[in-house]
């Protein structure tokens, strides 16, 4: 797994810069001035990025056996679950934010995160924090600062 990530990232970057180069070259031509003016910078940039990604790949190949403690942590214990849940609930939050309004969605989002990260045993403090913090931010932004929240 660790090896996969260590080499996967530079390979991903190579693919990304390649795609970036291709889409740079396919940019629409400008109708005023030099028709290619919009693409020089991104195209040059993507070539530079491509070269750097290859250098990075070779560097990583040399060090691929080295231990990276944090990378190991990424896949051990409940970390993957924590990350996926946090990101997943972020996505759900984004999807329902406009529908059910700021206050309700934030209480649920914050409460969900707290229960998951802080654990069910501390349910009381989780509930208090979720409700009071959501309400406080809602009050501060919507009422004091006049930000239009859904």
């Amino acid at each position: 797994m660790m090896k996969g990530i260590k080499l996967g990232v530079p390979i991903f970057l190579i693919v990304f810069s390649g795609l970036f180069l291709i889409s740079s070259l396919q940019l629409p031509k400008a109708n005023m001035g030099n028709p290619n003016a919009p693409l020089y910078f991104p195209a040059g940039l993507s070539i530079l990025m491509l070269l750097l990604s290859f250098v990075y790949l070779f560097q990583e190949l040399k060090h691929v056996a080295e231990e990276n403690k944090e990378l190991r942590q990424l896949f051990s214990g409940r970390t993957p679950k924590l990350l996926v849940t946090t990101l997943g609930s972020g996505v759900i939050y984004a999807l329902v934010f406009d529908q059910i309004g700021f206050l309700l969605s934030t209480i649920l989002f914050l409460g969900g995160l707290l229960f998951f990260i802080n654990g069910w045993k501390k349910w009381l403090i989780n509930c208090i924090v979720a409700v009071s913090f959501s309400f406080l931010t809602w009050y501060a932004f919507s009422q004091l600062l006049g930000v239009s929240l859904p």
Binding site: K29, N31, M32, K81, T85, I92, V96, Q99, I100, G101, L104, L108, G112, F115, F116, W120, S148
Partner: protein, 327 residues
């Protein structure tokens, strides 16, 4: 993990119930709930300030009893906000300007002005062509002559993007003068302020921008306005000729207005006609106009509809002339 599923289940149940119990229905009178004024820009921008001025005057003069809330929906040169408006009912209005026409003409947006209900045109600014105080060009005609001679040698500053009124007003002037506007040498700056800095620093030969950006500088003698796009000389700078005085047949307003979502009823439109007509006569609105250097440009819904049609045809021609699109 089980516990997590439990949370998810509870959460989704709450979401669904909440989503279903949405829209409360009201009685028949219009308006019967809070009014939303959509500013298709971030707080602090021109559209936002227009929306907030409207909210302020309509509320403080007690013209509209319902609460008016300004809602910011920035992005895509107004498109995000107007798309949002399209999805709302008649209790939402949005601020607009010529971008509602040009976004579509420049093929940047599928939204057409015809999809919305015109409510009113409120105010306008004028466009100005300015040069450094020590410029060799003394008049707008001299400037255009020199540009005609060698378009590439005259650098013109504009901002924040091509296809806006600043740009298109000069496109119109140039094409009236017999210059192919696509040949003009524009340097595009990030904003109106940057354009003026560039002119003061002598990095461009001329700028086309809103009059308010350069009016004080002209009075202070830091630069020289060659022409304004109004039909009559403008207060405080009566010495500056209009384009018509310079022999270029053009009046170019940079207007702002209000529109509503598609399919508003006659009664709803009539409501706003009467309210806004009242509003523009208040001292408070006059003060707003004065502070912003805007000029009264009120047109009611019917006039606005005709005006938009007419502007649309004009902009279509200008966009084609400008060389921004390939054809």
């Amino acid at each position: 993990m089980k516990k997590f599923i439990k949370v998810l289940l509870t959460m989704s149940v709450i979401f669904i119930t909440a989503a279903c119990s949405g829209n409360a229905s009201g009685n028949d009178g219009y308006p019967n709930k809070n009014i939303e004024m959509v500013a298709p820009a971030s707080p602090g921008g021109g559209w936002d300030l227009t929306a907030r001025s409207l909210e302020k005057v309509l509320t403080e003069q007690e013209l509209v009893d319902e609460n008016i809330n300004v809602v910011n929906k920035p992005g895509g040169g107004g498109e995000v906000g107007w798309k949002y408006l399209k999805s709302k009912d008649s209790h939402s209005l949005a601020v607009n300007s010529s971008l509602v026409l040009t976004n579509n003409l420049l093929e940047q947006s599928e939204l057409s002005y015809e999809e919305f209900t015109p409510i009113a045109t409120l105010a306008t600014e004028w466009q100005a062509l300015a040069v450094p105080a020590d410029s060799p060009y003394k008049t707008a005609s001299e400037f255009l002559e020199a540009t005609k001679e060698d378009p590439n040698s005259v650098k013109i500053g504009v901002g924040p993007g091509l296809g806006n009124d600043d740009h298109l007003s000069l496109v119109q002037a140039a094409s009236e003068f017999g210059i192919n506007p696509a040949d003009l040498n524009f340097l595009v700056y990030e904003g109106g302020g940057d354009v003026v800095t560039a002119l003061l620093g002598g990095h461009v030969d001329a700028v086309t921008t809103s009059l308010s950006e350069v009016k004080d500088q002209h009075i202070a003698g830091k630069l020289k306005i060659l022409a304004v796009s109004s039909d009559e000389p403008v207060e405080d700078i009566e010495d500056v000729p209009t384009w018509q005085d310079e022999g270029v047949d053009m009046v170019f307003p940079h207007w702002r207005g209000v529109m509503g979502p598609p399919d508003m009823t006659e009664d709803e439109i009539a409501y706003w006609d009467s309210k806004l007509e009242e509003m523009i006569q208040t001292d408070q609105w006059q003060q707003v106009l004065e502070n912003n250097d805007w000029e009264d440009f009120y047109k009611n819904s019917k006039e606005t509809k005709a005006f938009l049609q007419e502007q649309h045809d004009l902009y279509q021609r200008l966009v084609n002339d400008s060389g921004l699109l390939d054809n």
